[in-house]
C-alpha cells in the first residue's frame, strides 16, 4: 500500500503528533481513497466526506491551541454503526434511524474524542449485530470482501464494514463490537488483526446492546503492531501505546507456552484453512514457542450453548420489546430466526443457562492455567459468496460454522486476538486466534506481536487484497 494508509499506525501517529503531518491532509487522503474504492466495497452505512475533512481540521486547530491531545490525535478511525457518535445517525443495521438517545457518545467514543481522533464514518453492521456473515438483507450487495475481485464474497460480521474500511484506506483503526465473534470474524475474513476484550474491560455504554452479558467492544487494524498501538491508546489502564509496544516487543517466541486443542476446532475446515493456520503455528513453534496439546471440552460446550441461543437471544428479545418495539416488524429474516432461538424460553431456563455459563467460565479458566494462550483457527470456513448464502437454510448453516470457533471465547468469558496466518485454497484470508484467560489482553498482544515478527505482517504474508487500497 502506498500513501499514509500504507504506513504503520505508530509512524503516522508520530507524524501527526509532531505536526509533520496534519490531520486535515490525512483526512483528505481518506476522502480520496473513499472516492476510488468505495463504490464496489461499501464499507460505510454513513459516509460524509465534508465532515471527515472538518474533523481533521478541528483536530489541527486543537493541536495549534495546545488543547487536548492523545496518541490517536488526527488518526482516522471508523466506528461500527452500533455506537452513538453525535452528529451521525445510528441505524444499527436496521432500515430506520434509531431514536436520538442512541446517537449519544458513550465512554468509548468519548475516549476517541478526547484524543482528537478523526471519526471517518459509521461502518456497516449486521442488523443489531446479530450475525457472523456480514450480510444485511436491508442493503443488498454491501459491504464486499475486497479479497475476491471475481465474486462478491461476504466480509464477515457483524462488524461487516470494519475490516473493509481498513482495506479501502479510509481508516487506520476500526471500532467494532463482539458478542460471539463480531470483531474477530470480519478481521479474519478480511486479512486484518482484531481484539475481542474481556467482558467488562471496556465499557459498552453508548452502543446498541445485543446481549449486555456478552457484549464487548473491540478493535480491528491491519497488523498486530497497529492493533497494539490502538489498544494501548484506548485502554485506560495503559494509555501510553509506545510504552505498551516497547513492553510487548521485549518478548520472544520461547517465552510462551501455547495450548492447542482438538475438541472440534479443526474439524470441517474449508480447503486450505487448517493448513494455513497450522503453517503459521508451526513457524512460531520452530522459532521457539512451546506447544502443548490439551483437551478442552469446555470449548465445545460453549459452542453448544451458543447454538441453543445461550442468553443472547433472550436478552436481545427483551431489549427490542422494551426499547425498540417498532423495529421488530422489519427485522431481517436471518436475525428474526436467531432471536427466536432463545427468545421464548422461561426465566428458569434463562437463569439455568446463566449459571451454566458461570460454571463453564470457571472450568475454562482452570483449564488454561499454566498456558499463555490457547490457539485456534479463527473461522473454519472460507467466506461464502453472497449467492451461496442467499437461501435461508444455507445462511443459517454457514453462519453457525462461522461463529463456531469464536463464540466459545465469549461464552467462557475469555479474551481473544486474531491475526492473519495465510490464504486458503481459494485465496481468501485465514486467521488464527490466541485465546487468553479473562483480563490477559496484554499477554495476547505480546504473543501475537512476537508471532507477527516471525510470520510477517498481513501485507507481507498475504499480499495485497485484489480490490483493496494499493
Amino acid at each position: 500500500m502506498s500513501g499514509q494508509f500504507g504506513r504503520p499506525l505508530r509512524e503516522v501517529a508520530a507524524d501527526l503528533q509532531s505536526g509533520k503531518l496534519n490531520a486535515e491532509a490525512l483526512a483528505e487522503e481518506a476522502v480520496d481513497n473513499h472516492r476510488r474504492f468505495d463504490a464496489p466495497l461499501q464499507a460505510y452505512r454513513t459516509w460524509d466526506a465534508d465532515r471527515v475533512a472538518r474533523e481533521g481540521a478541528a483536530a489541527d486547530l486543537v493541536r495549534k491551541a495546545n488543547g487536548p491531545s492523545g496518541p490517536l490525535h488526527g488518526v482516522p478511525v471508523s466506528v461500527k454503526d452500533l455506537f452513538g457518535v453525535p452528529g451521525y445517525p445510528t441505524y444499527a443495521g436496521t432500515p430506520n434511524r434509531l431514536p436520538e438517545s442512541w446517537e449519544r457518545a458513550g465512554d468509548f467514543v468519548r475516549r476517541l474524542r478526547r484524543q482528537t481522533a478523526v471519526v471517518s464514518g459509521k461502518a456497516h453492521t449486521v442488523e443489531f449485530a446479530f450475525g457472523a456473515l456480514g450480510t444485511n438483507r436491508h442493503f443488498w450487495g454491501i459491504p464486499r470482501n475486497p479479497w475476491d475481485a471475481a465474486q462478491s464474497r461476504v466480509p464477515g460480521g457483524s462488524s461487516s464494514g470494519a475490516g473493509v474500511s481498513l482495506l479501502e484506506g479510509t481508516a487506520l483503526l476500526a471500532v467494532g463490537s463482539d458478542t460471539g465473534g463480531s470483531v474477530r470474524v470480519p478481521a479474519s475474513l478480511t486479512g486484518n488483526a482484531g481484539i475481542k476484550t474481556t467482558t467488562g474491560r471496556w465499557p459498552t455504554d453508548g452502543c446498541v446492546p445485543l446481549s449486555p452479558i456478552m457484549d464487548t467492544v473491540g478493535l480491528l487494524a491491519r497488523s498486530v503492531d497497529d492493533l497494539a498501538y490502538g489498544f494501548g491508546a484506548l485502554d485506560p489502564l495503559l494509555g501510553d501505546p509506545r510504552r505498551f509496544l516497547a513492553d510487548i516487543e521485549r518478548a520472544t517466541p520461547s517465552d510462551f507456552r501455547l495450548a492447542v486443542c482438538e475438541n472440534g476446532v479443526w474439524d470441517d475446515c474449508s480447503p486450505g484453512v487448517a493448513e494455513a493456520a497450522r503453517g503459521a503455528i508451526d513457524e512460531f513453534a520452530a522459532a521457539g514457542a512451546g506447544l502443548v496439546e490439551i483437551d478442552m471440552p469446555e470449548y465445545a460446550a460453549g459452542y453448544a450453548m451458543h447454538l441453543k441461543g445461550s442468553v443472547v437471544s433472550g436478552e436481545c428479545d427483551a431489549f427490542l420489546n422494551e426499547y425498540l418495539p417498532a423495529w421488530i416488524e422489519t427485522l431481517d429474516e436471518t436475525v428474526r430466526l436467531r432471536i427466536a432461538d432463545g427468545g421464548g424460553i422461561t426465566a428458569r431456563e434463562w437463569l439455568s443457562r446463566k449459571s451454566e455459563l458461570v460454571r463453564l467460565a470457571l472450568a475454562a479458566d482452570d483449564r488454561l492455567t499454566g498456558f499463555d494462550a490457547l490457539i485456534v483457527p479463527t473461522t473454519p470456513v472460507t467466506p461464502p459468496t453472497y449467492d451461496a448464502v442467499e437461501p435461508l437454510d444455507e445462511h443459517v448453516r454457514v453462519n453457525r460454522q462461522m461463529f463456531r470457533n469464536t463464540c466459545p471465547v465469549n461464552m467462557l468469558r475469555l479474551c481473544g486476538l486474531t491475526l492473519p496466518a495465510g490464504l486458503d485454497a481459494t485465496g481468501m484470508p485465514v486467521g488464527i486466534t490466541l485465546v487468553g484467560r479473562a483480563g490477559t489482553e496484554e499477554r495476547l498482544f505480546a504473543i501475537a506481536h512476537a508471532m507477527e515478527r516471525v510470520i510477517g505482517r498481513s501485507a507481507d504474508r498475504l499480499g495485497r487484497a485484489p480490490m483493496g487500497h494499493d
Binding site: 465532515r51 472538518r54 474533523e55 481540521a57 478541528a58 486547530l61 486543537v62 495549534k64 491551541a65 495546545n66 488543547g67 487536548p68 457518535v85 453525535p86 452528529g87 451521525y88 457518545a105 468519548r110 474524542r113 478526547r114 482528537t116 471519526v119
Partner: protein, 467 residues
C-alpha cells in the same frame, strides 16, 4: 442579557451546543470585558487574547463535528500563576521565571484543558502563594473592584483569581489554598471559593508552599458553577449526580454548628451582621443553629500564628529547589518565612502531631452537626496603603487568614459564598465547613443555601468598577 459571560456555565453549555452562540463569541465577550475593565484591576500576570481566540476556534470546530469533550469546552478559565500550564511560563509571583520543571502541567489543569477549555491567562499570586492579603511588591497587587475610590486588596494569595471573575474575563478561576488562598480572595471579591480536602486533588504541576497543607481549589461566581467545576475536575464525582443532589437538597432540619469562640470575634463592622442575617434567612426554611464547642480552632490558630509548619516547609523547599529566589523574596513573604523557619525537627513533628490530634477530636465534635458556618474573612479588605509595609501587613494578613486557616489546619473541606456587603460596602463571605472528604455534601448544602439566599450578583449587585 447582552454580556454572554454573565450566563451560568450550565446555560452557556446548552447554548453552545444549540449553536445559539459560539465559543468564539463567548471568548470575544470575555476579551472585551478585560479590555474595558482589566487595566485598572490588574488581575493577570499573563493575558493571552490571541491564544484564547485560537482555543475558542478549536472548541467551535469540535462542536461543529459533534465532538463534545465536556462542560468546559469553549469556556474561558483563568489559572493562578502557581499552576503549570503547558506552553506558558510560571513565575509563581516571583520576579523570575521558574525552571521548566515548574511548567509541566498537572492533572487539575489537564482536566479542564482536556475539555478544550479556553485559558485566558495566568492570574497574579502573592509570591509563592505565601500571604492572604493579595500583596505582591514585584508585579503589583490586583485591585479589588468593589471600591471605586481606593485601591483595596483583592485577597490572596490567589489575588488575580477573584478579580478575573469580577471583570468577566473568566468564568472559573483556578487557585490554591494553604491557609485560605482560595476562600479569602473569593470572599473579598464577592465570589464563591471551594477548598477541597487535602489529598483529594493532585498537587502535581503546582509550585508548592506547604505540601502538608496545600490544596488546589476553584473560584466561581456561583455555587452552581463551582459544582460543575468540581464535578469535572474530581475523579470520583460526577457532575450530573452532584447537580441532582443539589436539586434535592433541603435545608429543613439542617444542623448548622455555630462556634461562639474565635471565628466571630474582632470582625470589622457589618461582617458578623451580614453572616447572621444570612443565617436567619436559612432558619426560615428550617435550618437549625446549633451551638458547637470547637476549642481545637483556637489551638491550631495559635500554632498558625507562630508560623505553624508552613514557614519551615517553605524555607526548606526554597533552599533545596530554588535557592536563587531567596535573595529577591518580597518583604511581605520573607518576613513570614522567617517566623518559624528554624524550628527543630522535633518541634516540627510536634506541630504536625498537634494538628493531627486536633483534627481527630474536631472531627468527633463535627459529628453532631451537618456543617459549621463562620464569616470567611474577619476584616474588611484593607487599603493597599495600609499593607504596603511589613508592620502594617503582618497583623492584617493574619486576621484575613484567621477563619480560613482553621479549615486547613483541622483537615476540613470548606466553601465560601457571598452573602452581604459590610459597613464599608465590601463583600462578606460566609464560610461553610465540613469534615474531610464531604465535598459532595458541602456543594449540595451550599447549593441549597444559594437557592434560598440568591447568588452573589443577586444579593450584592455588581462591583462598582465592573458595572
Amino acid at each position: 442579557m447582552s454580556d454572554l459571560t454573565e450566563f451560568p456555565i450550565a446555560e452557556i453549555g446548552r447554548n453552545l451546543r444549540a449553536r445559539k452562540f459560539t465559543a468564539r463569541d463567548l471568548t470575544d465577550a470575555a476579551i472585551a470585558n478585560h479590555d474595558s475593565r482589566g487595566e485598572a484591576l490588574g488581575a493577570y500576570k499573563l493575558w493571552q487574547a490571541d491564544a484564547a481566540r485560537d482555543a475558542a476556534d478549536a472548541a467551535d470546530a469540535l462542536f461543529r463535528v459533534g465532538a463534545d469533550l465536556g462542560p468546559f469546552q469553549g469556556v474561558p478559565v483563568s489559572v493562578k500563576d502557581l499552576f503549570a500550564v503547558n506552553g506558558l511560563p510560571t513565575f509563581a509571583g516571583s520576579p523570575n521565571r521558574l525552571p521548566p520543571a515548574f511548567e509541566r502541567q498537572g492533572p487539575v489543569v489537564d482536566a479542564l484543558r482536556g475539555q478544550q477549555a479556553v485559558i485566558t491567562g495566568k492570574t497574579h499570586t502573592v509570591e509563592f502563594a505565601y500571604g492572604g492579603a493579595g500583596v505582591n511588591n514585584h508585579w503589583g497587587s490586583p485591585r479589588n473592584p468593589w471600591d471605586a475610590n481606593d485601591h483595596r486588596v483583592s485577597g490572596g494569595s490567589s489575588s488575580g483569581a477573584g478579580v478575573s471573575l469580577c471583570e468577566g474575563s473568566a468564568l472559573i478561576a483556578l487557585g490554591s489554598d494553604t491557609a485560605g488562598s482560595v476562600r479569602v480572595p473569593a470572599s473579598v471579591t464577592g465570589n464563591v471559593g471551594l477548598k477541597v480536602t487535602h489529598g483529594r486533588w493532585s498537587l502535581a504541576g503546582i509550585t508548592p508552599l506547604s505540601p502538608a497543607l496545600d490544596t488546589p481549589g476553584v473560584l466561581a461566581r456561583t455555587v452552581a458553577d463551582t459544582t460543575v467545576a468540581f464535578g469535572e475536575i474530581d475523579r470520583k464525582a460526577s457532575t450530573g449526580a452532584l447537580l441532582s443532589a443539589t436539586e434535592s437538597a433541603s435545608l429543613d432540619g439542617l444542623r448548622i454548628g455555630i462556634c461562639d469562640d474565635i471565628f466571630w470575634q474582632d470582625c470589622s463592622p457589618g461582617i458578623v451582621e451580614g453572616v447572621r442575617q444570612a443565617l436567619d434567612e436559612l432558619t426560615e426554611v428550617g435550618a437549625r443553629l446549633v451551638p458547637l464547642e470547637l476549642p481545637e480552632a483556637e489551638e491550631v490558630f495559635g500554632l498558625f500564628r507562630r508560623g505553624g509548619i508552613v514557614s519551615a516547609e517553605f524555607k526548606s523547599f526554597l533552599e533545596d529547589e530554588l535557592p536563587e529566589w531567596e535573595a529577591t523574596l518580597d518583604s511581605v513573604v520573607s518576613a513570614r518565612m522567617e517566623s518559624a523557619a528554624d524550628i527543630t525537627a522535633i518541634e516540627f513533628v510536634r506541630r504536625c502531631r498537634l494538628m493531627a490530634r486536633c483534627s481527630a477530636t474536631a472531627a468527633g465534635r463535627l459529628r453532631t452537626v451537618d456543617c459549621v458556618v463562620t464569616p470567611s474573612v474577619s476584616i474588611t479588605p484593607p487599603k493597599l496603603a495600609e499593607v504596603s509595609d511589613v508592620d502594617g501587613y503582618m497583623p492584617r494578613n493574619m486576621m484575613m487568614l484567621r477563619n480560613t486557616s482553621i479549615g486547613n489546619l483541622l483537615s476540613l473541606c470548606a466553601l465560601t459564598m457571598p452573602v452581604a456587603l459590610d459597613a464599608g460596602a465590601m463583600p462578606v463571605g460566609m464560610q461553610v465547613l465540613m469534615p474531610a472528604g464531604a465535598e459532595e455534601k458541602l456543594l449540595a448544602v451550599a447549593g441549597a443555601m444559594e437557592r434560598k439566599l440568591g447568588t452573589g450578583r443577586e444579593r450584592l449587585g455588581a462591583p462598582p468598577l465592573c458595572a
